[in-house]
Amino acid sequence: MLSPQLNLYFVIAFSFLLALVLSVYPLPMDMRWWRPEFVLLVAIYWIFFMPLTVSFTLLCVLGLFQDLLEGVPFGQHSLGLVIVAYICILSYQRVRNFSIWRQSCWIFILVGIAQLTDNWVQGMAGRPLSGIQFLYPALTSALLWPLCHRWLNAMTHRYHH
């Protein structure tokens, strides 16, 4: 049997891998706006509930890998991840005590911020955005949050203790 600490690292690595796979899972072209930001959700969860396990450097590398995977300019996701992670670190003590739906609202704002920086970078790359579509992922992410929270909680309790 592995030590609890090592187990936790496995759970974290597995959750991020799964999030990466989900973030490139093929969707019909028109549905792609509705894909939740899985990697960001998982990162937010770990920062809220295990603030010492995920480092900014790791998030930066993770973001770079996601950029590579999705074929977007290098640094796009890193930027969003690090900014959101910083806000999370500042606020996790309060947010932990929120009810789950209030947390969802908070997630909507966080993912919205990441989407905003994403679209700045996309705009610099020559793909300017029109309309409010860029907030769709924030909406679906917020709706997915209770599920994500419950599942990751169960995983942590099962393998960490």
Partner: protein
Amino acid sequence: MGLVVVGLYTDRLEPLREKFAQLATPFYQITDVPSRVNDWRKDTFVSEVDLKLENEALRTELLIHQRKLQQLASLAAENVRLRQLLNASQMLQDTVLIAELIGVSPNPLSHKVVINRGTKDGAFKGQPVLDAFGLMGQLIDVGETSSTVLLISDSTHAIPVQVNRNGVRAIAEGTGDLNSLSLRHVSANTDIRAGDLLVSSGLGERFPVGYPVAEVLQVVRDPGKAFLTVIAKPMARLDRSRHLLLVFADRDKASVPGALSLPAAASGTTSSSASSSSSVGGGQ
């Protein structure tokens, strides 16, 4: 932030991207598993009656294509004779390699797909990609066993085309909408109308000449503007085709493992033998 700027405005990071592109392949292969299972299910659990029906339909279709091909042979011979009369160069025979789509770019602002061919199969950056109905795009990132195709409808893509009816040249730009391209700087007195077939013109030497690109849907003449607004619909099924063709023009054919040799486009009258009957007929 600095990284973003460096990545966008210089090409310093390109080698890095090429080096690590290989790491992304397994993810696309994993996400492709469900559709593979579905294909396998379709192939395995199929009734004999259905197979017979399909066989029948395919035979009929083959017969129709063979009839077309008979005409094509004499047309091709005639074309060669006429070209000899004009002292023009021989038409090129293009070679194609069949590739399968394994992923779609998750970024909703860009139109890219991932295919299962890479440098190992002879694919190269800038290589044109077709499906059975027309031009789809070109390779932009080439890994060892997979590569990324930029579709013609992407908002950063443009392709030189000509109207098949009269040879008027234009540039077709992607609009970020899968079903429309727009023609750039078409002067107001140009002879172009709805229903015209646009084929690749071969200018710029990136795309081979004569493959169908799009069909003009709408031409708007606004007296207040210097240019026409021309909207065209891509012929290729950009969001549905799973099997694509990579085109090797004759000059870079060298040695491609597994490539098929097909008689291909000559200026406008015929197109790749893989294209649909409608696009062949459109040229005559």
